[in-house]
């Protein structure tokens, strides 16, 4: 008993010393979060990825432009200026790309899941040979079959969506992103013109 308790104490001390343990402790309180994440598809990945890019990307662009301008001691500041243009484009691309990308992924994954679910039930079909080789419905029951077919659908649908998007990028994304870019640039231009105007007015007042 005593040895056990000493061991436990040592364990606790080890746990305290290790930052991974602090994370382990925190995650252990919410075990359903990783379980929920396990079912994520490329849709969630796209939202997380592009959503963060829409926020961080423009800041990064401007920051890098600033760094390059300072390091190379550029006098006309053309890198700084073009980095601002790139920042707006990054924002437009990630916003437009996310909206179109998510819709296309949803359609492809939905279709692929339905197809796998349906085709997997037949034995000996071309698709059934791939997705339901071990005939899980009979061996493991409908529950495991459903889980597996959903995963197949998510993954194959994700790959198909990537291929489909090579085409839709031309038809949908490009004009849509240009439109967002124009709107975003308009808003920023208006703000800058307004600020400049205000600045001029206040200067005039000061002179008077």
């Amino acid at each position: 008993m005593r040895i056990n308790s000493i061991n436990q104490q040592q364990n606790k001390q080890n746990f305290k010393a290790n930052p991974a343990t602090w994370i382990a402790k925190t995650v252990a309180k919410y075990p359903m979060i990783p379980v929920g994440l396990a079912g994520s598809s490329v849709i969630a990945q796209k939202i997380v990825m592009s959503g963060s890019e829409a926020v961080v990307g423009p800041v990064m662009d401007v920051g890098i432009g600033e760094v390059i301008t300072k390091v190379t001691k550029e006098e006309d500041g053309r890198t700084r200026e073009s980095s601002k243009v790139q920042a707006i484009r990054t924002f437009s691309q990630s916003t437009g790309g996310t909206i179109v990308g998510v819709i296309i992924r949803m359609i492809c994954i939905g279709a692929a899941t339905a197809l796998c679910m349906k085709a997997g039930q037949k034995t000996g079909g071309t698709i059934a040979d791939i997705v339901n080789k071990n005939n899980e419905m009979v061996k493991e029951g409908t529950y495991i079959y459903k889980k597996n077919m959903e995963t197949w659908g998510k993954n194959i649908g994700g790959v198909v969506a990537t291929l489909v998007m090579l085409g839709t990028n031309f038809i949908i994304d490009a004009p849509f992103i240009n439109w967002i870019n124009k709107k975003a640039t308009d808003i920023i231009d208006n703000k800058i013109s307004k600020n400049k105007k205000d600045g001029v007015e206040t200067k005039e007042k000061e002179v008077k």
Binding site: A20, I23, Q45, T126, T142, T151
Partner: protein, 268 residues
């Protein structure tokens, strides 16, 4: 007739197969595939652009390849490391036996859960497993029994089937459910790793590599075409410049689109 795909498709299908230990890696592979397509079309754009001289193309095309390869390579390597650190890494022999296994954060959390109790004195792992079973049964109740009037395989008995798979006859959590919980839990860590990699890669790594390479490409172009540099440079956000330059509206053609993607990065 059995479908006999080429090796590449076979590999891709293999990484698409439902293996919880690979969930994070599958997301990584699909994302990297999209990035490869994007990088290829960006480089292709530089190669077919008629406005660029042959001399510049000799520089631009390899530069496009190198930038793309560096970006994707770094993203892939980094994300693999993150996934392995979170989920743990198991290497199998050819005969399916375990060659080596390295614990990740997920194993540490599971270990911590199995050794500790909650406030009511119940084992943390057991509580989590029960929650998992309850969640799966609840989800089973919501499955569509028919789609567009056609009956699916999920008939009235489906909830009972799920219950019998996940619970023993005395109502306790079955071994199958314990396995499923563990694999889902670990796979969730892998997916989280893929997300972290995608966010860091896309929001931090890509802009750094793109902007720095764009700077060198620009400098090189200016060096070869001195007239570019001598032109007085007007800042973009100058009201006099905006009207003339910004609305460069041309009908959308393949070449036009390629030139457009070359300015930024094609997103897939």
């Amino acid at each position: 007739m059995a479908f006999n795909p080429p090796k590449f498709v076979h590999k891709l299908l293999e990484s698409c197969s439902p293996n919880p230990a690979k969930a994070g890696k599958t997301l990584l592979v699909i994302n990297a595939l999209g990035m490869v397509f994007a990088a290829l079309s960006n480089t292709y754009a530089a190669a077919v652009d008629k406005n660029t001289s042959a001399q510049d193309k000799k520089f631009l095309v390899p530069a496009g390849f190198v930038t793309g390869a560096a970006n994707i390579g770094l993203y892939y390597a980094m994300t693999t490391k993150i996934i392995d650190a979170l989920q743990g890494k198991v290497i199998y022999n050819e005969d399916g036996t375990i060659k080596s296994a390295k614990d990740g954060l997920a194993d540490k959390v599971l270990d911590y859960m199995s050794k500790n109790n909650d406030k009511d004195g119940k084992n943390l792992l057991q509580v989590a497993q029960e929650k998992f079973v309850a969640r799966e049964i609840k989800k089973a109740g919501k499955v569509k029994k028919s789609i567009f009037g056609a009956e699916t395989v999920f008939n009235e008995n489906y909830v009972d089937t799920v219950k019998s798979t996940l619970k023993n006859s005395d109502g306790s959590v079955s071994d199958k459910a314990k396995d499923l919980f563990k694999s889902s839990f670990k796979s969730g860590f892998g997916v989280a790793g893929a997300f972290i990699g995608a966010v860091v890669g896309c929001a931090i790594l890509t802009p750094i590599i793109r902007d720095i390479s764009a700077y060198f490409v620009q400098k090189r172009l200016e060096k070869n075409n001195p007239e570019m540099k001598e032109k007085p440079y007007k800042p973009y956000f100058e009201p006099t410049r905006i009207e003339s330059v910004r609305y460069n509206r041309r009908p959308l053609t393949l070449k036009g689109y390629m030139a457009f993607t070359n300015k930024g990065n094609l997103k897939i």
